[in-house]
């Protein structure tokens, strides 16, 4: 599902993003990527989204060779990847319903299917009663649920989450994690970048630890190679 082979990425002025990283995530896996600030987590995410190109090494997503993706082919690879950010990135000039529908509209899903799919997602994240609300009227946890609904509405094979609980309290963070687990149980491969170690321990899932751009441990169940 996700395969990185000896991937390195160096920014300008020789600042190392990640160095010689190899990673294999199978279909249906739930994986945490943890590490201190500057450990290379965000670079890893950006490489998987092809916001950045690797300096060397190979990246495969769903069997597609990401290095060779062009402006024409990249959108179709990205349709199989859902993304959730720490800052939600909801569009505040439209309602909760419109935010989720937007993700379908821009990949030209027929209008009849959009309504059905958005309502299904709203029901899944428990926000059916708030479909008309503006994101500004929602709590942080609710906003993140809308963001997750938006990421999942196109039925992606992979869900990438960049610090999804970074702006949330512990109780709300647990709710968000439950939602991510639910998506994983329904077959979506989930990769969560976080430094919330409490959540990682609680979820007890495969955990990859990064430090100085390298993977320093890859534990099957909740093992941590560093302390915050």
């Amino acid at each position: 599902m996700i395969k990185m082979e000896n991937v390195s990425m160096t920014y300008a002025k020789d600042i190392v993003g990640i160095s010689n990283v190899s990673l294999h995530v199978e279909k249906g896996d739930f994986v945490f990527v943890v590490g201190k600030s500057g450990s290379g987590k965000s670079t890893l995410m950006k490489l998987l989204l092809k916001e950045l190109d690797p300096t060397s090494g190979k990246i495969y997503i769903n069997g597609e060779f990401l290095n060779d993706a062009t402006r024409k082919t990249l959108p179709f690879i990205r349709r199989k990847i859902g993304v959730v950010f720490q800052d939600f990135r909801l569009l505040e000039d439209r309602s909760v319903y419109e935010n989720i529908a937007f993700a379908q509209k821009v990949i030209e899903v027929p209008a009849v299917d959009i309504k059905k799919n958005v309502l299904k997602m709203l029901s899944m994240v428990g926000l059916l009663d708030k479909y008309k609300s503006n994101p500004k009227e929602l709590s942080g946890g609710e906003q993140q649920r809308v963001a997750i609904a938006r990421a999942l509405v196109n039925s992606p094979d992979i869900l990438l989450c960049d610090e999804p609980t970074g702006n949330l309290d512990i109780v709300t963070s647990e709710e968000i994690m439950k939602l991510l687990k639910l998506a994983n149980d329904q077959g979506t491969t989930v990769l969560v970048v976080t430094h919330n170690l409490d959540i990682v321990q609680q979820m007890n899932m495969r955990t990859i630890t990064m430090s100085e751009g390298k993977i320093i441990s890859d534990m099957a169940k909740g093992g941590l190679a560093y302390e915050d």
């Binding site: 199989k80 990135r89 821009v106």
Partner: protein, 302 residues
């Protein structure tokens, strides 16, 4: 792209214009100013050209013949000259006509002066062709050709007028073209800035679109719609203004300067606008599309 999406893109394009109302108005105003000036220059140049063409057609080369040239040969020379593409028309003045014209011109009121000539025609060898040209620039070549014809004694020309008219027409064309090119470049630059602003305002939206897998054409289309709509509105406004202005100026000038009729002959409104309307709309559309293209090429990468 699906039809449903095309409708969505067009709506988004109009929404962009509404969102950036102030900048959109500024861009429309700039394009309007450019197209207005373009229209003014075009009207001036086309009318100047029209007047030049008329003036050029008044330029005549006068051809005189050798003393013993037969009438048949004179007619043959006329046919050969008429067949030339640069010749607009040709008029023959017989020696008798030349003498009559001369008397009318110089002996008016003193007809007794002509009596001394009795039946003699002092201009017996002054039969001539007046050859009118299509364009002044062709005069030199034509004169050389006519001078080479058998039976031609002398060709009188008007080098200065021909040269000045040709140079004047060319100079006006070059100056107008340079000014119009500069104005169009300014318009493209300004519309690029407006679209860049639109992209900046919608940066979050664009990044979400790209993350969920929207194609470049889907993301870019509303900005092209925005640019094209601004371009078209910006070119339509000055066309309406110019249309009424042109009619007014022509009717005012013809009314107040009727003595200059024949020199100040204006092109009819229909003829000017038959070219100006499509050219201005295409220019507006091209400025808008080009502005959007430059803005998107630099700023829509996520």
């Amino acid at each position: 792209m699906k039809i449903n999406s095309a409708g969505y893109q067009i709506r988004q394009g109009f929404k962009n214009i509404q969102r950036n109302k102030l900048f959109s108005i500024a861009s429309i105003a700039t394009i309007a100013a450019c197209i207005f000036l373009f229209g003014v220059f075009y009207s001036l140049v086309s009318n100047f050209q029209f007047m030049m063409d008329n003036a050029e057609k008044q330029i005549a080369v006068t051809v005189f013949f050798d003393e013993d040239t037969s009438e048949d040969r004179v007619k043959a020379i006329g046919d050969e000259i008429s067949a030339r593409s640069e010749v607009n028309r040709i008029e023959y003045t017989s020696p008798e006509q030349a003498w009559t014209d001369f008397q009318g011109q110089y002996f008016e009121g003193k007809e007794y002066l002509a009596e001394g000539f009795k039946d003699d025609n002092p201009l017996a060898n002054s039969g001539s062709y007046s050859v009118y040209l299509n364009e002044a620039a062709a005069q030199e070549g034509l004169v050389t050709y006519i001078e080479g014809l058998d039976g031609v004694r002398q060709v009188n020309r008007n080098n200065e007028v021909a040269k000045n008219l040709a140079t004047g027409a060319r100079l006006v064309e070059y100056v107008a073209a340079a000014i119009i090119i500069i104005l169009l470049a300014v318009a493209v630059f300004l519309i690029t800035n407006t679209i860049v602003l639109g992209i900046t305002v919608r940066k979050d939206e664009i990044s979400i679109m790209k993350y969920v897998g929207a194609t470049d054409s889907f993301v870019n289309a509303p900005f092209f719609v925005e640019g094209i709509v601004i371009g078209l509105i910006g070119s339509a406004i000055p066309l309406v203004v110019l249309f009424f202005l042109y009619k007014q100026i022509v009717s005012y000038t013809m009314g107040h300067f009727s003595v200059m009729k024949g020199i100040l002959d204006f092109l009819p409104t229909g003829r000017v606008f038959a070219v100006l309307i499509p050219v201005s709309l295409i220019l507006g559309l091209a400025i808008g599309a080009l502005g959007s293209f430059f803005a998107l090429r630099k700023h829509s990468n996520v």
